[in-house]
Point group: C2
Chain length 143, copies 2
DNA sequence: TTATTTATTTTGAATGAGTCAAGATATGCT
DNA sequence: AGCATATCTTGACTCATTCAAAATAAATAA
């Protein structure tokens, strides 16, 4: 899915050009799950030192809109990205250090997706963020 | 709960001073649910023209940490606040116009709060944001 | 393969929500 | 009323992200 051929097909199907920055960004996010933009820029530049930050921003936005990436941005934190997509998993964020971990869905396939009263909204996604303390910060706080 | 006496008690219990900006901010948020900071600043200044933006930022942060307010900040949007607190309700955000509505909990009291695998995190809150289209934008899109 | 078209990228400046810091002010206590 | 200091005002500053114009390179056709 996230292989080199995979992205080419998705991009071409969307009438988008297959460019070095785009492929590199997808690879970088795949290699660094939950990385922020700065980290992704650095990772991309390991292989392609001339790629601009703007190209990374553009690629992240494009790949996200095409469904190849997912953006995570908890309150008070900058945006992070992950390549794990389409399996309806959620995230835990540590209130203390900001570290982030994946959490599989609690109840079956798409829990929480059926709100009791939509106010007429059509809902296509339920995003869940759990807040708490990571193991590290728990011990630090109590120590 | 959100009355003038209510906030005084909460502030005093927390050893915080009862100041004009704090009371005004709580009143403004109560009167303008889901308002962003800019809107709250304007609302506060209707009554108290000399209150600084910094005081509003500080008050919002304090009142939020005391549990009198709740901050909502969907991806790509600036922070908004609401005074409805402690009833575990969630929000729908329109992908098109960014409008926001309350949604009561889908399944009983605290759904989704029990993630299957915490990775050792202690979870104290499950935040749910539904994404979709508001009634207005639905008709605009299809029209 | 080379020329052509134009989507993307580079570069560098700009935006703007939010934060920082120092001095002025007002709250709560005695 | 007067004191101590929490809070506010003012104004500069941060920094993730966006904007814009010129340069570049991907895709198509000759």
């Amino acid at each position: 899915m996230t292989t080199s051929e995979g992205i080419e097909k998705v991009l071409r199907d969307a009438s988008m050009r297959v460019t070095r920055p785009r492929v590199a960004v997808l690879a970088a996010v795949t290699a660094h799950p939950h990385a922020d933009t700065e980290t992704i820029i650095e990772a991309v530049r390991q292989e392609h030192p001339t790629v601009s930050h703007q190209a990374v921003y553009d690629s992240l936005k494009l790949l996200t809109s095409l469904g190849l990436l997912r953006q995570i941005q908890p309150h008070g934190h900058i945006a992070r990205y992950e390549a794990r997509v389409g399996d309806n998993h959620h995230h835990v964020v540590c209130r203390s250090c900001g570290s982030l971990a994946d959490v599989d869905c609690a109840v079956g396939a798409a829990p929480c997706l059926h709100a009791s009263d939509h106010h007429g909204f059509t809902i296509d996604e339920a995003e869940v963020i759990y807040w708490g303390l990571c193991p590290n910060c728990q011990s630090t706080k109590t120590a």
